[in-house]
């Protein structure tokens, strides 16, 4: 038993040191190509946007980030295209790809790092710290976190904030009038529901799956959160849900705020938690 425990500790230590290796200062971070909206957001948060030379198509916040050359979609990068903007460093989300292209880029000697993502409040802080460490901005990051983010994390952790018993929530993707797609286990959607102190109604499957309106109504969620693209606001909530008894329990939120797991996601979780508790008027949510 003790042996097994020791082995476990060893394993944990090993995985930690691996993460440490990833998040250590790089010699040259003067020109960064970013593959992932939350990483771009973090670079702006750290005031390091001057080092960005290109971003992927999910990097839509802040809107100034859209001005950079586009390196394509985070999961469909082009090796040569990325190298053509001559970055000194490539930072990406965990899911950047395709794998062969990432391997091709690494083969040219270009440092290419995927920032680990853990979908929790602490995970977001770790992500910020990791990016900061790579850029050699750890001190600035600690100051900014202490100033802007810690209070959000602390508030999220107060039991008083959360409605008891924890509410059942369904989180849907805005599919533009198509079928409804809900977040199951192991999704960013599940992560934010748990951060907001609620339970995911669709915890019986994993990944994103299409669901019927009936299944949602039958599950009687207390709120339905809809992740929306752009600023279509409430208009983007599914029309058949708007007409249903759940119509006044729909919360629309920008997808990258809600599911990006950058610094803004902390605020989104807090806002959701307050709404669930009835502390805040619903649908004030959709903001850039």
């Amino acid at each position: 038993m003790a042996k097994r425990f020791l082995a476990l500790v060893g394993l944990l230590a090993a995985s930690f040191s691996a993460a440490e290796d990833l998040c250590e200062a790089r010699p040259d971070a003067s020109r960064i190509a970013v593959a992932g909206g939350s990483i771009t957001e973090i670079l702006y948060f750290l005031g390091a946007e001057a080092q960005i030379v290109g971003v992927d198509t999910t990097s839509t916040f802040p809107s100034a980030a859209r001005e950079f050359p586009s390196i394509g979609y985070v999961r469909n990068l082009s090796a040569e295209g990325l190298l053509s903007i001559s970055p000194k460093l490539v930072l990406g989300e965990e899911d950047m790809g395709p794998p062969n292209v990432v391997a091709q880029i690494a083969k040219t000697g270009m440092p290419i790092i995927s920032i680990p993502e853990v979908r929790s409040a602490i995970g977001i802080l770790d992500k910020v710290r990791c990016v900061a460490a790579i850029l050699g901005l750890s001190q600035r990051a600690d100051a900014l976190i202490a100033e802007q983010l810690i209070s959000l994390v602390d508030e999220l952790a107060t039991p008083r904030l959360h409605a008891q018993p924890s509410p059942r929530i369904a989180l849907l993707l805005d599919t533009n009038g198509g079928s409804l797609v809900a977040a199951g286990q192991d999704t960013a959607g599940n992560g934010i529901i748990e951060m907001a102190g609620a339970r995911n109604m669709f915890s019986n499957f994993s990944g994103w799956k299409p669901v019927s309106v009936e299944a949602i109504l039958n599950g009687a969620p207390e709120f339905v959160v809809v992740s929306t693209m752009s600023s279509r606001g409430d208009a983007s909530t599914p029309p058949h849900l708007r007409a249903s008894p759940l119509g006044d329990r729909l919360i629309a939120m920008d997808a990258m705020v809600l599911l990006g797991f950058g610094p803004r996601t902390l605020g989104a979780a807090l806002q959701l938690a307050r709404t669930f508790r009835g502390l805040e008027v619903q649908n004030a949510a959709n903001r850039e």
């Binding site: 082009s78 040569e80 903007i85 790809g97 040219t108 000697g109 192991d186 994993s206 994103w208």
Partner: protein, 331 residues
Amino acid sequence: MRPCGTIRILLAGATTCIALVALSMGAVELSLMEILWGGESGLEGVILFEIRAPRVLLAGFSGAVLAVAGAALQGLFRNPLAEPGLIGVSSGAALGAISMIVLGPSIALSATFATYALPVSAMIGACLVTIFLYAFSVRFGHFGMVTILLVGIAINALAAVGIGIFQYVSDDGALRSLTFWMMGSFGRATWDTLLPAAALMVAGVLPIFSLMRGLDLLQLGEAEAFHLGLDVGRLKRRVIFCSAAAVGASVAISGIVGFVGLVVPHLVRLVLGASHAHVLPASAMLGASLTILADLLARTLFAPAEIPVSLVTSAVGAPFFLWLIARGRPN
């Protein structure tokens, strides 16, 4: 004969030129001459030799294979609409590929095998589908052309069900990988994956060239060809299995690239006539050069981002096919 020879030389020249242009153009600006003559080994050398060269070669091989397989199948079925996708090879390969994309992460694979896992499973998918097509058509339809076509359609539908099931159970990441895989790209080419795939493509396509005479005879009709001494069954088996192997290898590494196999042979017949001795070699060269060109557009139009190559080939190929139809039938 003579104009045909000239055209062949012109085509070979054009293919070489296009390949060289494709090698020297891209998102990164580099000078081909400087690297080749100056022995440059910096980042530009790596980009040329490790990224661009395997990619151009893969595009060339795939284009040639798709066009030759398309020409041979059109000849075999005596149907201008036949193409590799029709006998279910492409969707079989797609089914193999998606099963690896979805199930792969849960099977622990050694790093060396992981590089080949996707192409190998796509290849297996293509082979299984072809064997099934053959066995079923022989058992229930005496391997007749119509049966083969109908079974091909059914196989495509079945493969679509399989793909749909995998899409349903796959997670977000796998789903997006799949979407881009289905749209085709030569950007995944590395020497490790290119060489075995290219060997298979060549091994599949070369025997087809020895079947030119048989394919010509077959144009007279199946019974007539038989009475002229052609072993029709053997010809069918060979064309189908060789195209399946070659196309399977191509689809396995580059995904589905549409319309090359359909349009290129028509384009060639338009100029050279229907004799397979002319159509097959010319299709190979035209297919290679057009596909290299399409890939060049795919990776430079929106650089530094790139678009799936099938968008380019289909966007050009589909309207062209419509034009062919309109041209053949006035009013």
